[in-house]
Every structure is written in C-alpha cells, then in structure tokens.
C-alpha cells in the first residue's frame, strides 16, 4: 500500500504544469480566476482547441477514438492540474457524456461522424434529460418521439440544459414506447439544434447569470439515423452514461484551488488578534475543511485504483459526489465568512475575490441539487451500497 504517486507520475505532472504555464492564454486564465464568464463560449472552445492540438483533447478516451491513452491516475493528475491552473473546465457533455455513449453503443457511422468533432471543439453538445415534471424522478419524462417514415417527430420540453444556449447538438432521452415501467419505452436520440422547431430560452439564475436553459421541441424532425442503439433501450444507455460521467466526480482539483483562494483571503483579512489564517477560530474551520479534503482525496484515489483494477465505477461515485460538493460548498461559505460584510457587495468589483466569492456562493448551491441531488445520492448509497 502506497498513497503517493510514483516518479513517472510526478514527471507527468511536471510536464503538464509546464504546458499549462506556456499554453494556457493569460486572458483566459485571468477571466477564469475572476469568475468572469463574459467570454465563456470562446474560452472553453479556444482551450479545447489548444488541448486538441497537443493531442490531449479527450483525456479519458482510448487512443482509437483520439484520446492520449492515459492511465486513470494520469487523467486524474490532468484534471487536478488544469483546475489548479485556472484553466476552463472542458465541456463534459461531449467528452464525458455523449462521447462514451457513442463509443459504446453508437454505430460506426455515428462514431466517425460525431466523435472527432467533439475532440476538435467543432460541435458543442448539451444534455436533454430533465423536464419540468421530472427532476430527480428522471424516468417520468414525457417528451415524445413518434415515428414518421424515416424520421422521428419530437415534441416536448427539456430544462436545466447547462450552456445549451451555445450548443448545436443535444442528446435527449425521449419516450418512444408506452406501458410497462416508466424506465421502459425511453430512447436515446441525438438532435441537431438547428432543426426547425427547436427553441432555446436561457433561464436567469439567482446569481444573475445565464448558464442553464429551457429547450422546447415543437414537431422537430429527427432522422432515425440519430437514434443511439435500439429503440426503447435508452434507459440502459443513460445509466451507463451516469456511471461514466462520474469519474473524478469529487472534483478534487477545483476544491484545492478554492481552498487556496480561501487561505489567501484569510491571510490578508484581519481577525481578532491576527490574520484570519492565524485566528484560532477561523483557522480551525480552514483546518477542518483541509483535513476533510485530504480524506476525500485518498478516498478518490482509492476508488480510482479499484476502478482501474476491477471495472466501471460503482455506486461509490455517490460518496465522491456528495462529499465533494459538500466540501466545495463549505469552502465557498468560508470565503464569504472571511470577507464578512464586504462579501455583500457584488458590483462593482472591489478587488479580485470579493464579488466572485458571493456569486460563487449563490451559484454553487446548485452542486447539491444538479446531477442527482445529494438526497438522491444518499438514497443510492443506502440502497445500492448498504443494501437497505
């Protein structure tokens, strides 16, 4: 048993750090650091293209589909280093979600058509799962696809489509069959968002930003060639995707970055007798969360080790998701607590961290809600891990 990376892995990390230092554009890095999403579309796209040129566009994909052939620890290191360097997060919807589904269940034509364009940032994918009436209870979805010749006619509404305002493709769960359990009769369909009848409406969130959307489908004609796998078997593919989506789900890199930011705020903020970093009460809170992060990192590495040795990630991902989001939210709370009354001012900018800390705090409430709420995760832990 050995908790540390070996020398090859450390060398890989150093290589990444050098690359990030040299190739991550300063303006992108600055915007990401400041929480400035005014150019988010270009920033994500440009960075993806830079990675693609380096051959690192799809860190988790096998070589045959354009991946770098990295081991899981390498992918993990890549994730952490990119986050620590304030690189834009790569878009998960193509790379971590629909991509793996197409690799596993798509036909050769679909693989050739879609996969290279994901890595090259030619397509921007979004996810069409949730609906107004089906959030946690995904299987109750009601968007329908009806056969009409060689096409499907799609009608319905999707919600919470993250960054869908920039997307040209959406992968959807749609209802193609009736009867039986609600999980039956669901199909997995790829839809070109430029098709007539697709309407996108960004949703204003509590932090004033627009990052999710509502999408309406009104008699949208989708070729049958855009169906993944078999009709009515979409639930199987969705479940596969949910498992796949959750590698390095704890988000260790971003948590480390925000912990560092917290410490910097604390170091420059005066407490009762010293800076908050040396204030007994506040420093104890920082110490607490840093210790919890150390534990979570070991849990993550162990889950990764077991996954590499055995098989696909199991329900343990629910532990990583829950603890990762709890710790991330806790750090966000501590950032505003450190700033005190100054945190209330969200515009105009006072200094680098103040407005961002509060907007982050608001925005990150989503972490325990989206992607399977933490209540759902605890259900999964109790039922699938503990067998209750």
């Amino acid at each position: 048993m050995n908790l540390n990376f070996d020398s090859q892995q450390l060398a890989f990390r150093d290589e990444l750090r050098a690359f990030l230092r040299d190739h991550l554009p300063a303006d992108i890095r600055t915007r990401m650091r400041d929480g400035d999403h005014s150019h988010i579309r270009e920033d994500i796209s440009d960075w993806q293209k830079i990675l693609h040129r380096q051959g690192w566009g799809a860190p988790a994909w096998p070589k045959e589909f354009g991946g770098p052939g990295w081991s899981k620890p390498q992918q993990y290191i890549f994730d952490v280093e990119c986050a620590l360097a304030d690189a834009p997060e790569q878009l998960a919807f193509g790379l971590k979600m629909v991509g793996p589904v197409i690799m596993r269940y798509g036909n050769a034509e679909q693989q050739q058509r879609f996969l290279p364009r994901i890595v090259a940032a030619d397509d921007w994918w979004c996810q069409g799962y949730s609906e107004p009436g089906s959030g946690s209870d995904l299987a109750s979805l009601r968007t329908r696809a009806e056969r009409a010749g060689n096409d499907y006619i799609v009608n319905g509404q999707k919600v919470w489509n993250t960054l869908g305002q920039f997307a040209n493709w959406i992968f959807c769960l749609v209802r193609t069959g009736n009867g039986g359990k609600p999980q039956q009769g669901i199909s997995f369909l790829l839809i070109d968002m430029r098709t007539p009848g697709v309407k996108v409406q960004p949703t204003r969130l509590l932090d004033g930003g627009f990052e999710v959307n509502e999408i309406w489908f009104e008699n949208v004609r989708v070729p049958m060639g855009n169906l993944i796998g078999e009709e009515n078997r979409g639930w199987t593919y969705a479940k596969f995707l949910l498992g796949h989506e959750r590698s390095n789900v704890a988000g260790i890199g971003a948590i480390k970055r925000e912990l560092l930011r917290l410490k910097q705020i604390a170091a420059r903020t005066q407490g009762e007798t010293a800076s908050l970093l040396h204030d007994p009460i506040f420093a104890t809170r920082i110490a607490q969360v840093e210790i919890e992060l150390r534990a979570l990192e070991i849990i993550s590495l162990r889950a990764m080790f077991e996954a590499e040795r055995n098989s696909a990630p199991g329900p343990e991902a629910s532990i990583l998701k829950t603890r990762g989001t709890e710790i991330r939210q806790r750090i966000s709370e501590l950032q505003i607590d450190a700033l005190g009354e100054a945190a209330l001012t969200i515009a105009p900018r006072i200094d680098d961290d103040t407005p961002r800390a509060m907007l982050d705090y608001l925005n990150l409430r989503k972490l325990s809600i989206f992607g399977g709420s933490n209540e759902i995760q605890r259900n999964i832990i109790a039922q699938r891990i503990l067998g209750l």
């Binding site: 004033g208 209330l344 325990s368």
Partner: protein
C-alpha cells in the same frame, strides 16, 4: 411574562401585512427591483399614508411614538414582503437619532418630513477602519465660522443612493462624538454606489470638506443616542429577517406539498420531512430571538442589552443560513432561478447574516462576556 399583542399592535401588524399583500406582491416587487432606482417612491409615500413612517416619531412631533414591539411587527411584515425601501434605515434608525438628539427646533424641522416620506434619512456611521468599537470614528468635524466642515469616509451605507439626508457621525476638535444632518446634495458629499447581493444599493460615502450650517449638529455628545438607535435598528433588522425566514419556510413547505416525484409529493419523503422539522425548530429559535432583541434593545442595562442583542443576531444569523440554504435545496432546480421568490428570500437572509455585525462578530461579542457563574 406575556406573549400576546395588544389590539393596537395586532392592528398594526394586520395593516402592514395587508399593505404587503395588496400593494407589494412579488411581481410588483420585482418590477421595483428592475427599475433604475431600485426602490419605489410611490411605495414610500404609501407607507407614509398608512402612518408606518411615523411609527418611531414621537407624539410631540405628530408621530405614533411607538416602541420596539410595534417596530418588530411592522418589520416582520416588510420582511415577508421583501421590501426594497429603506424602512429600517430611515424610519427606525435615523428617526430615532433625530428624536433622541435633536433640539425641539431640529426635531420639528426633520421629523414631520420623515413621517410624510419627503425626507429619506440614513445614518452614515461605520467606517472602513472602525473595527469592533462602534465609537471609533475617524471622520472629523471642524468648526469654520458659521459652518461645520466634515472630512472622512463612511462605508457601505445601505440604501444611501435613496437618501436625501445623511446623519453623519464625526469627532469634533474636542474629540466628542457628534452627529450632523447632511443633505446629500451638499458639495463635498460623494456617494460611490454598490449593488449588494440582495438587490439593494449601498454606498461608500466620501466627505471631502462638506460644509453644513452650525445648526446641523444634532445635540452634544451623541454616543448614547447612537448606541440606542443602532440597537433599535438591529432589533428591527432581526424582525425583518424573521419575516423573511417565516415566509421562506412556509413557501418551502407549500412547495414540498405540491411538487410530485416518484408518484408522491416530495413532502411525504421522510428525510425531507425531518429536514423541514429541523427548519421549523430553527424558525422557532429565530422567532424567540427576535422577541428577545425587541424586548432588550431599549434595556437600560447596557451590558445585558448588548449580550441579548449579540445572542439574538448570532443565532438568527445561523438560523437564516440554515433556513435559506435548505429552502433552496428543497426547491431543487427551481430554487436556483431568479423567477421564484424563494431565491430572493435566500439572498435577503444572506445580507442579514452580515449586516450590522456578522454572525461571527456577534458570537465573539457574546463569548467575550461569558462568566463562570
């Protein structure tokens, strides 16, 4: 020991609630929020018409001369309505300062106009370096002939852009803490407006040789009156926050009763039921502490008063965070949107946590006066 309200108090609460229900529904509030000013003079005059701006004006100046309990009840209702207008700042704090410190002439000059809504006055007291000692004021007032000249900086005066009168605390040359009535249009008064998380406006106030007449000084030593007014304001802010918590909780319970997942209202799931039971317990704690704040804020024993207010603000800040976060969580994705009222309650409660001394600061103040017996 008596937890009932008098008939007059109950009427006051009903009046304020009716105003919110009829004149300040959420849709109207959001239109005010999106307006250029960010607050509504029309609403302000309505509050005046209802007599609510005269609540803390002494009867001698034609006001209601009411007390902290009445203020608490009105602020409960205004917090329920997410009011964007500067009620606590102008109708409680500034009104109290003038009522306590002002000469008969000054009281007559300002208070009727505060009651009628023509004047919006705000206390500009906190400074960037004031730290924990509320009497530590670095703004200087120098007598120059028939005028006072004021120089200094005041930080994060909530609602300042809405005011036409600032009550500025400053130290005179003989180091007395004094308060001056400073119209905002006086040269040398600069406001740097800031948007705050709860869709309100605050401003840093710069005083660069602002000149006011000799008569602008309110009373002599202002320290006691400032403490009283700030404490009355703190209790009123607690009442506003309780109103917001109460409504946020009720809204959440309603949502969980109607939102269906897995074939049942989510309010039937035991883990969410227990979560709401916890929220209710925090709400009852907040109510108790809001009572305590109202009951103690005019207490003559200053140490006891400060301890009670510190206790109230600290615990209510924690309740606010708990209830706010859980309200969002239980609303799921809908809680993340700007569209529903719940996210606005959440943000008002965040502002409460940090205004007039954060939860941590009040907890520290309380901790420091602990005794073994």
């Amino acid at each position: 020991m008596d937890f009932s309200y008098t008939d007059e108090q109950q009427m006051l609460l009903d009046t304020a609630r009716r105003f919110v229900g009829e004149r300040y529904p959420f849709e109207y509030r959001q239109r005010v929020r999106d307006s250029a000013e960010g607050w509504s003079r029309e609403t302000w005059l309505r509050l005046a018409d209802l007599g609510l701006l005269a609540l803390n004006v002494p009867e001698s100046e034609g006001g209601l001369g009411a007390g902290p309990i009445e203020t608490m009840l009105v602020c409960n209702a205004l917090g329920e309505g997410l009011l964007l207008e500067p009620y606590v700042g102008s109708a409680v704090v500034a009104t109290s300062v003038i009522a306590e410190l002002g000469s008969p002439h000054q009281r007559q000059r300002w208070l009727p106009h505060l009651a009628s809504g023509e004047v919006v006055a705000l206390l500009a007291h906190d400074e960037p370096d004031s730290g924990d000692d509320f009497a530590r004021v670095q703004t200087r007032a120098r007598r120059e002939g028939e005028h006072w000249r004021l120089d200094g900086r005041k930080s994060q005066v909530y609602h300042a852009p809405a005011a036409n009168l600032l009550l500025v605390s400053a130290r005179t040359e003989d180091d007395v803490l004094a308060v001056f009535a400073v119209p905002t249009n006086v040269p040398g008064v600069h406001l740097a407006a800031q948007k705050t998380v709860d869709d309100q406006c605050a401003a840093n106030v710069h005083l660069d040789g602002a000149q006011v007449e000799a008569d602008a000084r309110l009373g002599a030593d202002a320290q006691g009156a400032l403490r009283n007014a700030l404490d009355a304001g703190l209790a009123a802010l607690c009442a506003d926050a309780f109103g917001a918590m109460d409504k946020a909780f009720a809204t959440t319970v309603d949502y969980c009763r109607s939102r269906t997942q897995f074939g049942a209202p989510i309010g039937t799931f035991q883990s969410l039921q227990h979560r709401m039971a916890d929220m209710l317990m925090r709400l009852e704690e907040a109510r108790a502490m809001s009572y305590l704040a109202a009951s103690a804020c005019s207490h003559s024993d200053l140490a006891e008063r400060r301890a009670a207010l510190a206790a109230a603000k600290a615990l209510m800040g924690q309740c606010a965070r708990h209830i706010g976060q859980q309200a969002i969580q239980l609303h799921g994705g809908m809680g993340m949107t700007d569209e529903l009222a719940i996210s606005h309650y959440f943000k008002r409660l965040i502002a409460f946590e940090f205004r007039n001394g954060s939860t941590d600061q009040h907890l520290r103040d309380y901790r420091k006066q602990l005794r073994a017996a």
